[in-house]
Amino acid sequence: MARRDLTVLESGIVHDPANGIDGVVKDLWMENGKIISPPARLERDESNVRRIDATGYVVMPGGVDIHSHIAGPKVNLARRMRPEDKRQSIPVERRVSAFGATRSGSTGSVPSTFATGYLYSGLGYTTAFDAAIAPLAARHAHEEFRDTPLIDKGFFILLGNNHYVLTQIAKGERERLRAFAGWILQAAGAHAIKVVNPGGVEAWKSGMGNIHSLDEPVPHFGCTARQVVTGLAQAAMDMNLPHPIHLHCNNLGLPGNFNTTLGTMRALEGRRAHFTHIQFHSYGGEALDQSTFCSKAPELAEWFNNHPEITVDVGQVMFGETTSMTGDGPLGYFLHKVTGRRWTSADTELEAGCGIVPITYREKKLVHALQWAIGLEWYLLARDPWRIAMSTDHPNGGSFLAYPEIIALLMDRGYRNEALNATHPGVKARCRLADLDREYTLNEIAIITRAAPARMLGLATKGHLGPGADADITLYQPDHDKRRMFALPRMVIKAGRLVVDDGNILSDESAPHPTRTWMVRPDFDRDAVPDIRTWFENHYTLRFDNYPVERERLAPVEALAPCEKTAR
């Protein structure tokens, strides 16, 4: 019998909610980077079984971040714009020894690529998705992914203001829209369709302001935001994409925007959709009167609780210095005007916009404190943890490094109320946070930080520890201080290899750990390509053949997500 290369993680307290395991002491077997069923005794060549003693440790699948900004031109412009942000932050030091070598990096709100991989991994996360890449920037995003070690990655492409998309929607060409979406997902090597401020970015780029309601026509195209979201949501469903449209609604950040959000939910009723950074879209009040600003999370959460076809991530705001970055061009300008701080804008031909502004969230400022509270309301009001994912919309609401703090706020009511009392006194009257006494269990935390986002993304081998899953595992030392517990995992295992041991990154540049980039390959009507090519060559400033990302540019291993009907 051939010798097998087996690893067993022994006697950990396993939290694997996807498989109904809630704090059960058990062994986990791994082979070739995958979780396997315990081999029969005869098959174990004891001399060749690597044993890791996990006694007393909490064992969870590796964390999965469904919405983060970690790669591509927008992120890199933010790095370039903010040297001071990095100078004030603790850098990642280079390490070279006989055992391995890791690269140096800068941190702050927008860490450099190697630092991003190490920091995520050090936090127990093994997968992260970038939320907003213009298809024309896909090659750049893949290049940065190649330099982002230790985590699996993927990205969503911006289609909500794409000229071809707007044209097909205006003409009612559903089939052609689907063919284009399928073609461009493959050309870019992307995982899902992202919609940002549908129609609004194009209006801004045309010098016509923004789109403020679902039924306002997009300048020069005539279709409405309602048609864009429903059209693309339908296209994603028709292609059986593993992740539905990833939607950033119109009017982000504006008082009274919950009406637009609720209207969008109604427009999509019955269709699958992921509403991202929902906190930023849950505001009541008058647009021009900040004193009326209040939470409408309860109203939206009620709709959410009754509609299993939609999922959300929160986009939690945390206090401190960070960088706002968005594909929502007009929003960037709005923030620049509100904060009076530096503004970077970068528009991509026929596809997308971008805005970057430094921002400091202050707990004594009513609006900021209320944003913080509304995020927490969402976590506590969402009844089904399988449909809500933890996010800070890194770095928009704060860094992903704030996740342990959020976990503490969710698991400990006393700690949360203390924090609430330290914020602006006007907050309590404008939201229901003070009345919510729910406390998350460890299993619920495992759901919203790994099992649920993996399921929402359609990653069948992520977010759980059953046979066939990727052996991405995090061990935590149980601790009453949840911030400490989740900030410093005892061990992180990626694809069966120990990559973080007590805070030390164990990566060897001479044998870099293979990470994967997830993407979809949906079927599409190839007869549509000549029309796309003609349109492309008439309007872009590069050749059609130079647009698709070459396969050799992709990460060493690519992972194909299934495009077939899966049980939900």
Binding site: P83, E143, T348, T541, N546
Partner: protein, 451 residues
Amino acid sequence: MASRDKTDPILPNNSATPAVCTGCGCLCDDVTVSPSGGSLVANTHGCAKGKYWLELRPGPKVSAFLNGRPAPLKKAINAAADILWKSNNPLVFGLEQVTCESAAKVVAISDWLGANLDTTASFNQGPTGLAFQGVGEISCSLGEVRNRADLILFWGADPLVTHPRHTSRYSIDPPGVHVPLGRKNRFVVVIDSEANQTASQADLWLRPKPGRDFELIWALRAMIQGREIAGYDSAANGVGLEELEGLAHRLKGCRFGVLFFGDRLLAGPGHHLNADGAVSLAHDINAHTRFYARPLRRAGNPMGSESVTCWQTGYPFGLNLARGFPRYNPGEFTARRLINSGESDVLLTVGVSPGDYLNSGNANGPHSFQHIHIGDGLPDEWQSPPKVEIRTAPFATAASGTVYRMDDISLPLRPLSMSQLPDMEQVLTELEGTILERMRNSSPPTEMAAS
């Protein structure tokens, strides 16, 4: 010196193959090249600069030199690794004619060594980088300009000379979605104190007195913001207030305007204020209409290598890795000062003609340094032979990888010819491996524990 050697095209016979021309920052990808009599003939749509750039030239046969004498490649790489590894304060400089993949290797090498790392941006586009950090950046891809712009303003720039197809491909002439008549739908302005060929195509040419650009920018900003202007000296500035008011009116009234600024706006000390002003002016105009400001970038892949440096370290140029992590301080960690002050004992130049930027006399002068060069052969003007020189396959025609256009759009570069010289990325990969090996075998475990 180098003997003549024929570099062979690898294109299929007689076929016109699409190519990306890196002869200027435009990175035109609509050019084609065909093999002809052992050389390449490029159809660059009338651009002489591109035609010259894509020509196959007889190249050197020997790839590696030690102290000016031919040596085996492996020996040269080992020698380079030894010199770099033993250096106290190495400076890594260049990254113009490199792919992003090669640039990534150079940043890695700098990281392992704890070197200073600087790109040629610190000599020309440095002010732009500083301005972006001060006020931000407001840019768009060149297709946005082509499809929407009805006002084009070139400031301190003469694209007809420096970027010959910029005007026909992206800015002045081409019809676009919202400017269907091309040139007829656009108002073109040139502001330049010097003779300017592009001005012949412009609707308006303003000629400030040399060094007075900042005064014009600031007056325009005041006008756009609706402020009173006091003490503007028309005679000293070379442009009258009325002319300027006419321009301000146009800037506010356009539908989509873009300011392209060139090296002439950025020349001289303190002129990052000009870049700062150009971006701030674009910011101001956005209170009225859509307006952008972009620098015109040079040949090769400076955008790409800056981008790579930035994503790997957080900073685009002028950085130091000696403390084990990146620190950024242009002026302190930029090439000019490190060479002139004699602080760097070893200079590694990659993908650049160092004589264009650095004074070769210093190699033998009071501030001597050991020089290692990787890239195209050094020109004769660079007098002192480097300690180690490795000539790699010509970037223009034989490199393969990713390059970035001046507007941050990436394009694939494919080799058009076969060179007997080694591939730069491979040389750098070997150099990195050799340096790491030296470091690993010598660093005692205690060093890691202490750090």
